[in-house]
């Protein structure tokens, strides 16, 4: 079925180049020029993917990107379970991001944990006209009264806050004082800042630095006795339990995880992280900033790792162990060996069903590259990939460690381009988000959401790989895809209305 598997690299390259040219034709001249810089065919040996990134989206094209608020509240801060996160501004932002990210946690929700509650200052016209600081003060008081076991509060700014000149920093300082030094974190993640979720990650990282780290007492009593094997998991949001199926491996190899950032995380864990011996970083995009900061300020080294698929897991376990003594190195080998039978059984079961199948990806932070290894472990091939909000360093990592020659690369792809690419490349599977899911399924293309794991997961770690393999199999080999055409109708080529 797949064109990619029956053609030579040169043919694929030519087809992909032609495809990009064709797609650009739809645009007004100015837009075509701008979009051309974001589309490319990867050339083996190059140090990056040859696309521009982290640039403003073009109006009206149906970008798939979100905003800085989504990056801060939705990604970085939202999962910290014992803090109340206020969506500060009108009701919508908090409503649409309420409980939709599946960052699992355990706690008594509404009493000592607050992840799946929607707290908002629900701005009305008068708050816009007269300013919202007074309301914010009252909101903070009401949270203190009704949710007394919260360990801290963050203020997640929505668009109007920065436009009407509210001083949420001043409110935070004075209320923190009033409440005996309570952690109150103002976050300037207004949706119009930056070009995507990405700046929201950065702003959220900086808020941890300024409003948590900088307020730590340098000689404060540690809450627990440090060990030489203390590490922090950075940039795992525990989607469907990802951080848990990662943590279990780290602990099995003899490390002690003292903090999770931020899936199932807590304020105490954030505060304890400067005591870690090593920060291990999964989602580089969203948390490299704080990792670099901790390296500079506290001298904590950090290393990137990848817990998707057995090849990358084993490589990562050894890489992490490399920072420690022989005990941990042996621990890593022991873990790899322990899970080998599971890996073998999963691959024996699923690889024959998936061998040679092609995949096109379009996701956020780390996944456009990180999951490629897991697909390859199953004999599948990623023939196109792109980042919603990646930067050049993401595309460098992608080019140097992940993608194959002639892979189609699309940065900040929009609805039109992505549909045309899929229509022409005809992959066996598309992995992207909820906004894309039904578009491609209508076209008869199997699909998995690769942000939320399509309500499945975990996908990290060895336990997660079994689920990943099962899910890809059930998507690609679902019997329903053979029935999209009525038997009395000729099999027509998928076409797009917009392309007519």
């Amino acid at each position: 079925m797949s064109l990619a598997t029956t053609q030579s690299i040169a043919e694929i390259r030519a087809r992909n180049k032609e495809l990009i040219e064709e797609v650009l034709k739809v645009y007004p001249e100015k837009t075509a020029k701008r979009r051309a810089k974001h589309l490319n065919v990867h050339q083996a040996g190059k140090s990056d993917c040859g696309v521009k990134s982290n640039i403003k989206s073009i109006p009206g094209v149906m970008t798939i990107r979100g905003c800085a608020y989504a990056g801060s509240k939705g990604v970085v801060w939202g999962p910290i379970k014992d803090m109340v996160h206020i969506s500060h501004g009108p009701v919508g932002c908090g409503q649409y991001s309420w409980g939709s990210r599946r960052n699992y946690y355990v706690g008594t929700t509404g009493v000592d944990s607050f992840v799946t509650l929607q707290f908002t200052s629900d701005f009305q016209e008068k708050d816009i006209v007269f300013g919202g600081d007074k309301k914010l003060i009252k909101v903070l008081d009401e949270i203190q009264e009704l949710f007394p076991l919260n360990n801290g509060i963050t203020i997640q700014s929505e668009c109007p806050i920065g436009l009407i000149g509210d001083d949420i920093e001043a409110v935070s300082r004075s209320k923190s004082k009033e409440y005996d030094g309570k952690t109150i974190v103002p976050v300037r993640c207004e949706g119009f800042r930056g070009v995507s979720q990405s700046l929201g990650h950065h702003i959220a990282n900086d808020a941890v630095r300024d409003w948590i780290f900088d307020k730590l007492e340098p000689d404060g009593e540690p809450k627990f006795q440090p060990t030489p094997y203390d590490v922090a998991i950075i940039g795992d949001y525990n989607i469907g339990g990802d951080a848990w199926s990662s943590r279990i491996l780290l602990e099995e190899m003899g490390l002690r995880v003292i903090a999770q950032w931020s899936g199932d995380g807590s304020l105490a864990e954030l505060e304890a992280t400067p005591k870690a011996k090593l920060n291990i970083l999964h989602c580089y995009r969203s948390m490299n900033y704080i990792s670099r900061h901790m390296e500079e300020k506290f001298g904590i080294p950090w290393c990137e790792y990848n817990f998707f698929g057995p090849s990358k897991i084993a490589e990562s376990l050894r890489k992490i162990a490399g920072y420690f003594d022989d005990k941990i190195k042996e621990g890593a080998e022991r873990v790899i060996e322990k899970y080998q039978p599971l890996v073998d059984a999963v691959i024996a079961k699923y690889r024959p069903r998936l061998e040679g199948k092609t995949v096109m990806l379009y996701v956020g932070g780390l996944r456009p590259r990180h999951v490629i290894g897991a697909y390859e472990d199953l004999g599948m091939e990623v023939v196109g990939t792109g980042y919603e909000f990646g930067h050049n360093d993401d595309y460098q990592r992608t080019a140097q460690h992940y993608v194959k020659d002639s892979t189609l690369i699309y940065d900040d792809v929009n609805g039109y381009e992505f549909e045309r690419f899929v229509e022409k490349v005809q992959p066996d599977l598309v992995g992207s988000g909820i906004k894309e899911k039904y578009v491609f399924q209508k076209m008869g293309v199997p699909f998995r959401q690769m942000h939320s794991w399509d309500y499945s997961g975990p996908y990290h770690g060895y336990d997660g790989f079994a689920i990943f393999a099962r899910d890809m199999d059930m998507a690609v080999n679902s019997p329903i895809w053979k029935k999209t055409k009525a038997p009395w109708k000729e099999a027509a080529k998928p076409k797009l209305l917009a392309a007519e």
């Binding site: 699992y104 509404g110 509650l117 360990n151 009407i164 848990w244 807590s266 975990p458 336990d463």
Partner: protein, 518 residues
């Protein structure tokens, strides 16, 4: 290790195993957890009348509100027109949210574009974003119409849509005669139902009142047709189809304004239809000539209906008609306005609904319900419950206002089953949580977010409303009309019977009441 290739455990089972449970227990020491006794004490305190009082004294904080913002309603209504691309002027993240929200409910694609305004636009205004955005959308997605609304960012900085669209046309973004209706939809005023109203009025204004000064105003030449407006509705697919079926049975010429029943229910047949169905632009313009316009949801059309009325039409509004009497009223109104008789088939359908209620009412009679949702939905469901002899004890609408409250209380006052019932405008689901603890009811009706209330208070949830993310396909079935009433009845009964079975399924303890005939 519990995981296996033969029987792959997913998150539901995996983390319950002893290894993970131990791991999570060990993690606690790093979390600086609260004393479990203190957690329990506060948890119990949140159930008390004292807490309820403090909770209801809230003036600034909203916790789990049951409402969304205006532009969501604007997008919802815009896709109900033929070939129409909704274009939301402002920050782009908002559009990502509306699309996700609608897709998660309908399990359908949701197409919409943003003008992607960023910091420079905050300073200089978003005119260039509008100029480029309209040109790009027009070329890429070949719409027949682009319906513009706004995010709060554009509203705060005061962008003028009328002027911007005019300038964009002058700059050649879209042809001068291309339809670009617009509506200002500030998120800090009203809710998604307000946005529905504003955007629909904007579209009708565009076609009827001379396309922003570029065409002559239409002159109304009354005909026999009736316009129907559905309002913001999670069941729009099933409900609008049911209304069309009823109108066809009665032989009434009609136009459904903003008919999004197709675009939110497209087939999987190898082709993605970005646009499907919808009210044609011609019909939208011609809707001015109709004899009357009927709104199925009063609080979704508070501005639109007066606008229609000003053009000389009769206007009638309903409140989400569920059940026998509400459907009777709808049919009688349709018959009165159109002069057409109500056919025997509908009388038989009515009889069947009455029959079903008579068969089952013993199981519902006297049961207490809490309902929350949009104002009209609340009214329609409460009226149906009263008809069943049930008591809609707490009816809460975050986006309901004082007028809504009065109308609800009048409804309660008119029924012996409504005497102890109360309406709560402007309240949220954390208020509802208190109510369910201090004045418990038997069942809760609401959207997906009600599952948190069900977990906390043990009140079984019947899912009707928007959004419903965690159950599939119910939006494809109507809840309006006699057929819809039957669907709602069955939904309620299923929950009642399931609950009895759940409570009586302990062997050796509750062998009685576990009946096979009811």
């Amino acid at each position: 290790m519990a995981q296996s290739a033969d029987h792959v455990l997913d998150h539901l089972e995996l983390f319950r195993g002893p290894e993970y449970q131990q791991m999570l227990a060990d993690k606690k020491m790093f979390e600086n957890p609260r004393d479990p006794a203190e957690v329990e004490r506060i948890k119990q305190w949140t159930k008390t009348p004292e807490y309820r009082e403090k909770n209801f004294a809230r003036e600034a904080l909203a916790v789990n509100p049951a409402k969304a913002c205006q532009p969501l309603g604007a997008v919802f209504v815009s896709v109900g027109f033929e070939g129409t691309l909704p274009f939301v002027h402002g920050s782009q993240g908002c559009v990502a949210y509306y699309r996700s929200h609608l897709s998660r409910h309908f399990k359908e694609p949701s197409s919409c574009v943003s003008s992607s305004m960023t910091e420079d636009a905050a300073v200089f205004g978003g005119l260039n974003n509008m100029i480029d955005g309209l040109a790009n959308s027009y070329n890429m997605y070949k719409p027949k119409m682009i319906a513009v609304s706004t995010t709060c960012m554009a509203e705060v900085i005061g962008d003028d849509l009328n002027a911007f669209i005019k300038t964009s046309k002058e700059k050649g973004s879209v042809p001068a005669e291309f339809d670009v209706p617009f509506a200002h939809t500030p998120a800090f005023v009203g809710s998604h139902v307000t946005g529905y109203d504003n955007a629909l009025k904007g579209i009708l204004e565009h076609f009827w009142n001379g396309k922003a000064g570029t065409a002559p105003k239409l002159e109304r030449k009354p005909n026999e047709a009736i316009n129907i407006i559905g309002g913001f509705d999670g069941n729009t697919v099933g409900n609008l189809r049911e209304i069309k079926r009823i109108l066809a049975l009665m032989g009434i010429k009609h136009t459904i304004l903003a008919d999004n029943s197709e675009v939110f229910d497209t087939p999987t047949d190898g082709e993605f239809l970005m646009y499907d169905g919808g009210t044609t632009l011609e019909d939208t313009a011609n809707a001015i000539h109709a004899k009357a316009t009927i709104s199925m949801q009063q609080w979704c059309t508070e501005k639109t209906l007066p606008f229609v009325s000003e053009h000389g039409q009769d206007v009638v509004s309903f409140n989400y008609p569920v059940g026998v009497s509400a459907t009777d009223d709808l049919l009688v109104a349709l018959s009165r306005i159109s002069g057409k008789e109500i056919p025997e088939q509908l009388a038989r359908e009515r009889g069947r609904l009455v029959d079903a209620i008579a068969d089952s009412s013993a199981h519902i009679h006297g049961k207490k319900f809490a309902i929350y949702g949009d104002p009209d939905l609340c009214y329609g469901l409460a009226a149906f419950l009263l008809e069943l002899g049930a008591e809609p004890t707490h009816v809460l609408s975050t986006n309901g206002n004082k007028a809504w409250q009065e109308k609800m209380q009048a409804l309660f006052a008119g029924s012996p089953f409504g005497q102890a019932c109360q309406a709560y405008p402007g309240r949220d689901l954390w208020h509802m949580r208190s109510l369910l603890f201090t004045e418990p009811v038997d069942f809760l009706i609401g959207n997906t977010h009600g599952k948190y209330l069900e977990r906390d208070t043990g009140t079984p949830l019947i899912r009707i409303g928007f959004p419903i993310f965690d159950r599939h396909h119910h939006h494809r079935f109507p809840v309006w009309g006699y057929q819809g009433g039957l669907n709602v009845l069955v939904k309620i009964l299923d929950k009642i019977f399931d609950e009895i079975d759940k409570k009586t399924s302990v062997l050796g303890k509750t062998d009685y009441s576990f009946d096979i005939i009811r």
